[in-house]
Structure formats: structure tokens, C-alpha cells
Subunit: 208 residues, 3 copies
């Protein structure tokens, strides 16, 4: 893994992140009477939404999935497989949470790295990491009529992306690039899983 | 019609599509206690949303309605006329569905053609056709607090755009350009109407 | 105030508008069980959303908050202060409405001025004024699961931006630039407050 150049590493992070978020998009359709194509739309919006918003904000054209159709096929393929799989087998409820944690980790660091590579400041890189990681899920939740998970109390979610992206940005240039990216992703994934299993929460907004 | 250049043909498709989607935006305000200006906002977001997202994604600036204010006036005029009309006369409920089908047909092919003309791949052209056709309606539904129609079982909607845009892209260059565009639009419109009247549906996402 | 160049004037309008909308984003989280970070996300989306959409539509890169991180810190700082304040003291319900009116006034004119300065037509400048002023609030409402205020009957809201931005655009070049901007902002703020306190409304969309 260390032998890969960072660019390829980030590419694979985007690719896997897209496939994983596509699956979560399909799973969000459960019990909503959504048809095959609606599921595809939801999967594509969830998996490509974060990167699209990031690239629009950074004026980084062409958008990643326009520049490289393989990313598009990854999203479509993952959605079709999940659609088929779920007709016959049950996915444990926890699967969605764990996959989502992995997608968050991959996208947050890919987003931060892209902003750094384009010469934006560390602050912007952290913001881009958080929004790339979270935007897809927000779009998914708005489209299916939920209040976005990241706005709810029981989700220590975006904070994981904040911690991981800050860690990445602060140590950037001081560690081997691939090792750093991998560590930051692992950090996000582990914190997120700990938060899920321990029920850890941030203080809620309370009015006097 | 055959004498028009394709560019003008697509321009008129955009123009009529915008006016039609503007009307559907107004009609979506029924029974929601929305005031005149709120109705205008809804009409503009519905009619200009699809083309705006397409142009942003393709980095095709200026946006169509910025480049040509006539499109803006078409949206505003259609909305005002509908607002006034509906105070005195009843529009049959079916009218919204039929208009929406026409708008979908016009926008899907205009979107696909624009992507082709800018040199994007057929796959991207199909995706742009679908999103140009559907995005306005999604925005309209999210703003009025509904789950978007394209995500619901009883809508064989985006699939019509998929079929028509694929037909257009596959035969591109093999037929007279205007004839092809017109055929693809008719195809979408007819399939969509058949789906409405026959109640045809895609398989729903079911969990084992 | 007259001594400031217009550019700086608009800059301060953006800065104060962002801080104010950030506060309204935090206040919208009341009673929703949203945690600290969710509140931050809501505050940032509300305060930066309008300017981001405007800059994307006008292809004016880099986005204002990317070009100048101080705007980002203004949003973050205002949100944190409000979060802390509200744990101990009560903000009167009217405060949200008055702050929102001030933010609308600042953003609408900053948006119209930016479009004029970039050479767009008066019509586009008015549209940009309205959307810069209103988009943040729409995003805030969609994210917290409400039908956007601007689509509801009891809000004479976007119309204030329409009036103020039109006033600004029509008199542009005929008055001292700073004086005009200040007058247009005051106009919006006053009309909006009058509308709130008098209960003035536009005719509602009624079906025959």
C-alpha cells in the first residue's frame, strides 16, 4: 500500500467511498415503497453528491465522475448488487452504520487531500473534508424525508470527520503521505465505531 | 421544423420546457397557503433548477437563464398566467401530469444534446438528460415538503427519461438531428403518458 | 460611512450578514435535539449557503468564504457565542425575526451589487439579490424539516428583497454608491419589520 502514489491512493478512496455510499443509499430506501429506478437515483445522489459539491465549491472541473466514468459504474454496480441481494438475504441493521462509517472515513480524507493538492488553506481543506464526507448522507436524508442524521443528537458523526481531517491537515508534510492518509482514515473509522457502540454524544443545544 | 438548426430546436425545447415546468411549480402550491411571491419562487426553482444543475455540473457558463433573460421571462410569465387563471377556472388534475410529461421530454433531450454538443461522453449525456429532466421536479417536491415523486413507487418517471435519452444518444449521428431529437422527445412523452394511464410500475425495493 | 469605498461596504455587509444568519441557524435548532456540531453545520449552511449559490451561479470563483477565511470564522464565532448564550439566557422570540430581517437586507444588496459589479444585467442582479438573501433561510428550513418560510403565507419576505434590490438597481449610477446601498438596505429592513408587526400579506394562491 505504501508503494502506491498518493494520487492513486486518493483515487481508490473515492472509488470505494462511492461504492459504499451507493449501498447506503439503497438501504435508506427500505420500507419506503421506492422503485428500482428511484433507488438508483437515491444511490447516485448519495454517493456522488459529496464529491460533486466539493468540486463545484473548489471549481475543480471536470467533476470526478465526469472525468472518470468508472466511478459512475462503481455507484451503479454497487446499487444493483445491493438491490438484488436485499430481495433474498437480510443485511443486519448494523451493516448500514459500519459501511457508512467507512465511507465517511474515505471521503473525508479524500476531500481534505484534494483541497490541499489544489493549494487551498488547511482550514478550507478541513471544511471540504467534512462536507465531502457528510453531504451525500444529508442529500440522502433530505430526499427520503428525514431530518439529516448529522443534525441529530444521537449522531457523533460529522465530528469524526472534523477530528480526522484536522489530524490529516496538521501532520501533512511531516509523515509519509500514504501512511498519514491511511492513519487518518482509520482514526475516523475507529472513533465513529466507538461512538456508535458506546453511545457517546456531544452536548445538545439547550435553551435556558 | 426540419429546417431549423438543431441549436435553435434545443433552444425552443428549453424555452417551452421552462414555461411548462413553471406552470407545474405553480400547481404544486395548491392547498399549501403559499402567497404570490412564494409561488413565483417555487415556479422559478422548478423551471430553472434542472438546467442550472446541468450547467453547473458541465461547467457551462453563463447559465442558460443568465445568458438569455427571455428564458427567465418565460418562467415568470407562465407562472403569473397560471396564478391568475387558477383564481377563476379549474385545471383538471390530469393537466399537471400531462404538462409534466411534456416538460420531462423537452428537458431530457435538451440536456442530453447539450452534453453531447459540449463533447461529453454518451454516458454523461444520458445522466445529464435524466437529471435535467428530473431535478426541477425534485426541487419542487423537497421545497413543498413531499418525498420526491421520482422516488415513489407509482411514478414510472425518471425511467422514461433514461429510455428517451439513451435512444437519442445511441442514434446520434445516424439520423437527421432534428428528426432524432423530435422522435426521442415524443418517445418519452408517449411512454410517460402510457405509464400514467396504464399504471405501469417498476419492481419495488423489497427487503427479504 | 460615506468615506468607505463601495467594495469595502459590500464586504462588511457580507461579514455582518453571515454572522447574523449564523445566529438564526443556531436558533432554528431550538427544541430539535440537535448537538453542538449539528448546530455548527446548520449555522454554516444557513450563513454561507446564499453567497455560495450566488457565486456558483455567477461563476465567481473562489467562493467568498474560500477567498477570505474571516467570513468563515465570523460564522463559526457567531454560532459558538449563540450556542453558549442560549444555555444561560433567553433570547426573545422576536429576536430571530429582527435579526433575520437585518441579514436579508444586507445579503440582498450585497448580492445585487456583486452581480452588477461583475457586469450582469439589472434583471440578473435583482434575481441574485433575492436568492442571496433568501437561499440561506431556505436551506436552514429544508434541513430542519420545515416548509421554507418564504413559501408560506405569513411571510412577506422575499418580496422585501425584490423591492429593495429593484430600488438599488434602478437608482444605480444616479446616487452616491454607498448612500444608495445603505438606503436600499434600510428600505428592506423597514419594510420587513413593518410586515412582521402589521401582519401584511400578499394574496394567497387560491384555486377556483
Amino acid at each position: 500500500m505504501i508503494d502506491l502514489e498518493l494520487e492513486r491512493f486518493v483515487y481508490f478512496a473515492d472509488l470505494f467511498g462511492i461504492a459504499i455510499f451507493s449501498i447506503t443509499g439503497v438501504l435508506a430506501a427500505r420500507g419506503k415503497q421506492i422503485d428500482l429506478f428511484g433507488v438508483m437515483v437515491l444511490a447516485l445522489a448519495t454517493s456522488l453528491g459529496g464529491g460533486t459539491l466539493r468540486d463545484l465549491a473548489l471549481n475543480a472541473h471536470p467533476l470526478i465522475w465526469i472525468a472518470d466514468p468508472l466511478l459512475l459504474w462503481a455507484a451503479i454496480g454497487a446499487a444493483l448488487l445491493t438491490f438484488g441481494y436485499c430481495r433474498f438475504w437480510v443485511l443486519p441493521r448494523r451493516a448500514l452504520l459500519v459501511l457508512d462509517a467507512a465511507g465517511l472515513a474515505l471521503f473525508a480524507i479524500a476531500g481534505a487531500e484534494k483541497a490541499m493538492a489544489l493549494g487551498f488553506s488547511p482550514l478550507i481543506a478541513v471544511i471540504m473534508g467534512i462536507s465531502t464526507g457528510c453531504a451525500g448522507g444529508v442529500i440522502r436524508d433530505v430526499l427520503t424525508g428525514r431530518i439529516p442524521g448529522i443534525l441529530q443528537q444521537d449522531e457523533f458523526y460529522a465530528t469524526c470527520a472534523l477530528i480526522g481531517a484536522s489530524f490529516y491537515v496538521l501532520l501533512h508534510g511531516h509523515l509519509d503521505a500514504n501512511l498519514l492518509a491511511l492513519s487518518a482514515m482509520t482514526l475516523i473509522f475507529v472513533i465513529r465505531l466507538l461512538a456508535i457502540y458506546s453511545g457517546f454524544r456531544l452536548p445538545v443545544f439547550v435553551v435556558a
